[in-house]
Symmetry: C2
Subunit: 638 residues, 2 copies
């Protein structure tokens, strides 16, 4: 089976470009598609708060609920602040686009770098959390969690390379099943907790009393900030709808807004409900073991059908959440590539019309993160949510700038920005206030996240984002340079480098391969020099003798034999070529023709001196040399 | 600093081939050069026996001495049996040469594979044991033993790449210092043990009584065999002199024989002495801690100057022993490469007249082994000594064959074998008996080693050796095929492939790079077709428009635009080339000219579509295509 056939089998037959279809989603299915990421955060967000508070002892866990309410308030504020973005960027208003349109190049690159970082982490964190849902139910699998996580990434990568589009129906099942399962659990939990309708009260857990420490003043506040920062992981994925407005059925913007609000309300209801019950039941997080959600569901449901339902769909919705990274990362990379900030091949769509290169880059990086962190998503969380918070800040700042511009328009006037069309709106002042408040709030939260998580890993992100921006700018500079160099503006034919009628053929012996190279050289030029670097007198004698045997091919060709008392025969060859070039054909292209053995078995290449490759590498940076391999095929040994 | 400058700094200026010198060694220095490997085995050989016996409890350690005496007898037998080899192969009679000359291709390859395996292990084992000598004296360094071992390999590699020849003087110091130090220790130990000349008796050690097990019958014999097999590691390196007869001062063979006998006697005296004292003092091996030699020296010397002397020179002589691997492996590889059984580049000598490639291959493989075994030489020993024992067996079998041939000669008659000159010898029958006994004995010991160590790691060697032989034979077959294909016997000029006067220039756009490629194409042919795979109507229109702008270059060139509804533009290009080739120029070489961007910053290559490379790879296996890159340089961005 050839590589091409293997690819066909794995990926499927290529799709023609014209066959691209755009599925339009109704609100029910759109919710399922876009909500998997934010709603799945419920699998770990409560735990992320409790994990910080626990250092003060189990008593301090009572602060979990107020902090969760704070996070919920922040989420709802972001949701409402994003309504403006959706209304004004109906073609999709990701933070990169909004920042580019309103704030300029560097803020937009900053937003892009922040988002790309977070998309990668979405995959690593979600897959790891999904694996934890599996191992919470099946503890025997814990030992194999890294392999399970890598296999899950490989599976998701494969599905995405095949180009299976995020079909709303496929997404709808696990998302709604998860929401329903958790909701039922919460309702039963509340009924049992308050002993309503004759439900059996919750079993009294032996309260784990951990040694209590107390902190005062700044240290206490700092700890609360850290716990709050942990909860902010619930915000990731909220911005996805603003990127995907075009995926909605008409009226797109209005449907997107409604869906976003419903999504925010559901996600936060689950979050607050889980947090209320978990703290009321005195559950305690265990870093390497069962998740809080699993503990809670097990207690409330008694470990039966409902428990396995919730665990199974937790795992599934988390894997779907990882899948959103596979939509977002390649798309944003392709935007950046199209604008010349990332390698152009990231905008090439593969056989199945997906951004294959972006998918593979994402799979590799997120797998490395899973390996480094050993599929422990709790350890990854300090890196997470920073990017999304920075992108919120920039996106809202951009919107406030846009609102200011709208304010300068007169009634009924319309203008186009780079990306979208705007017209006067009467409520622009109030809307602008919402965006300014949103931008400042998320900006402050970003700083809190950065400060409180810095030593735990946020420094990695704080380092990565500027590095990305630097790389983007650098790549862009290179492409500009290429475009300038290639431009045919003011082109004159004399600008091109001349081609000298001279060919150099390095030979080590006279055999069929060499003779074929000489024949080719004769067909393209008349001034031909065969050059042999001789390291022993026997070699010189042998070459001279054989050379004389083929006058039909060697006649008129100058044979240059260089006696050389070292073994590195490339050096005299390179020197000879440069010398000829400088003395006889200054500024013109001269051609080197090299016979190249091509063994039928590819691995046999290692058995041949890679003369052509070495020459090409050595001479590549010089303006004036073309190296031609004349293939000589060696059939497979019998 | 360029790579070339870095290489000059590290390796030094190249030596001319004619500058090669052959140092001739007197017996004193020759002993130092060749004995470092076998004599250094004393650092671990006793321990290797005790480590097996200990499973029967400390009482069983009393069997160590008899087994050591058995090993010593075997060594002396091998030494005397090798005398014949040295006398008959004065140009160097390694097992590979002797087997090739007398037994044929496959036995010689078997011997070569066995020796190469063992040379690699010499480096890994000796370096690891040297590091143990360091960490026995400085226990704090134990944690860093792998890094120390890898650094030692890197250092030895560097020294060898610089081509510092095994200068007898450099070797003499540590070898004789080690011999002297251990001898003094043994003598003091004996004096103290028997309370002679008023020496203080040895301190009474608290005898470590390990739980005693008893084995009966076969199981007991098996254990003794295993312990004996452990002791056989003392045999490694003994054959080195037979390879290096040419390094001796005249009369070479006689000096080599004397040196070999002295070496065997010294090595075995130390071995038996150490074993006698170690068992008498009730020392017990500890796998991860202090070596037996270190324990013994510490007790006898009281831990003072003598102790550190012995430890320091143990480490040094072990590193020197590793160095012998750096002489033997590249030399044998180069013999195999010259005979066409390994890649030819293994016989190329580098700038400093050493077999650089062989040195680097050895360094890489032995480092990997050190990593895998975490620099624990005791764990490597089950793999060790198998190769050398197999090579003894084959070499002695070869000698016995040679003696048989000598027996067929009449008095005074001389003939040449492939490698050496032989004449009638009167004592050939007796000599033959010695070789037959030697071959059978070492053959049996080989089987004992293989069987007793099989599950502990010998299976790796048992697998590796046949794989090597298979690879050697396969490589040889390939080179034969190449030689046959290239041969100009019965050559006729018409056998060469015709060169079609047709050039295909794939273009994606019309820019300076494309125009340069067209200019080159015009210089080598008249039938030129520019081929553009257009994926959008805009692209088609743009190319047509720009094409028309440069009539000086495009006139007379056929522009072929292929509209294509997929993204993989290589496929239609490849199809087009094959189609042209098959329909118009069947059986002739056609040429493809591709503009190639060469960015001033090498890393910027990743930013460009590697069209030329992909085309070359796709079309490489086809008989009839030449791909030419016309370089177009992109200067560094300002």
């Amino acid at each position: 089976m050839t590589i091409a056939e293997l690819k066909r089998t794995l990926i499927g037959e290529p799709f023609p470009t014209s066959q691209e279809i755009h599925e339009r989603l109704d609100k029910i299915r759109a919710l399922a598609v876009f909500a998997s990421d934010p709603i799945s955060s419920n699998a770990y967000a409560t735990e992320a708060i409790m994990g910080v508070l626990i250092v003060l002892g189990s008593g301090a866990l009572s602060m979990t609920l107020p902090l969760a309410l704070g996070v919920a308030a922040l989420v709802l504020m972001v949701v409402f602040s994003y309504i403006q973005t959706i209304m004004h960027y109906p073609d999709g208003g990701g933070a990169y686009t909004v920042a580019k349109d309103n704030l300029g190049k560097y803020p937009s690159l900053l937003a892009a770098a922040a988002l790309l970082t977070d998309y990668i982490l979405t995959v690593s964190v979600s897959v790891s959390a999904g694996v934890r849902a599996v191992t919470s139910a099946v503890p025997e699998a814990f030992e194999y969690r890294v392999i399970i996580a890598l296999a899950a990434i490989a599976l998701i990568t494969w599905v995405n390379l095949r180009g299976v589009r995020e079909s709303g129906t496929v997404f709808a099942v696990p998302t709604y099943a998860f929401i329903a399962g958790v909701l039922v659990t919460i309702v039963i939990g509340l009924l049992r907790r308050f002993g309503l309708f004759g439900f059996a009260p919750l079993p009294t857990l032996e309260e784990v009393v951990l040694p209590s420490r107390s902190l005062v003043g700044f240290a206490y506040i700092w700890l609360l900030f850290r716990a709050f920062a942990g909860g902010c992981t619930a915000l990731t994925g909220i911005e996805a709808i603003s990127n995907g407005v075009k995926a909605f059925k008409s009226p797109e913007a209005k449907n997107a807004v409604v869906t976003m609000v419903v999504m925010g309300v559901i996600a936060m209801s689950l979050f607050v409900g889980i947090t209320f019950l978990a703290t009321g039941m005195h559950l305690v997080p265990s870093e390497h073991g069962e998740s809080i959600l699993s503990q809670m569901t097990r207690q409330i449901s008694g470990g039966g059908f409902l428990y396995y339902w919730v665990q199974a769909f937790t795992a599934l919705i988390l894997f779907l959440a990882a899948n959103t990274g596979y939509q977002d990362f390649p798309r944003l990379s392709s935007f950046l590539a199209a604008d010349g900030f990332l390698p152009r091949w990231l905008q090439n769509r593969g056989d199945r019309l997906v951004y294959s290169s972006g998918i593979i880059v994402l799979a590799v990086i997120s797998s490395i993160i899973v390996l480094i962190f050993q599929a422990n998503e709790i350890a990854m969380l300090p890196l997470y949510a920073l990017g999304v918070m920075l992108s919120f800040t920039l996106s809202q700042a951009g919107m406030s700038h846009l609102m200011g511009k709208i304010g300068t328009l007169s009634e009924g006037e319309k203008i186009r920005t780079q990306v979208t069309e705007i017209h006067f709106e009467s409520g622009w002042r109030w809307k602008r206030v919402v965006n300014v408040v949103g931008s400042i709030t998320t900006g402050i939260v970003f700083l809190i996240l950065l400060a409180t998580k810095f030593v735990d890993g946020a420094w990695i992100v704080a380092l990565a984002i500027p590095v990305f921006v630097f790389v983007f700018a650098h790549i862009n500079q290179h492409y500009q340079q290429v475009a300038n160099t290639l431009s045919t503006r003011d082109f004159c034919v004399d600008d091109l480098v001349d081609v000298a009628n001279a060919v150099i053929v390095p030979i080590g012996d006279v055999h069929r391969g060499t003779l074929q190279a000489l024949k080719f050289a004769r067909s393209i030029a008349t001034d031909i020099r065969a050059v042999c670097v001789s390291t022993t007198p026997e070699m010189r004698e042998r070459v001279l003798r054989r050379w004389a045997r083929f006058p039909e091919l060697t006649e008129g060709i100058q044979l240059v034999i260089i006696d050389y008392d070292f073994r590195d025969i490339m050096k005299p060859l390179v020197d000879y070529v440069q010398d000829v070039n400088n003395r006889e054909f200054k500024g013109a292209l001269i051609t080197i023709v090299v016979p190249e053995f091509i063994p039928a078995e590819g691995y046999a290449n290692i058995l041949h001196n890679q003369t052509a490759n070495i020459l090409r590498r050595e001479l590549r940076q010089k303006q004036d040399v073309i190296v031609i391999d004349v293939p000589f095929h060696i059939p497979a040994a019998a």
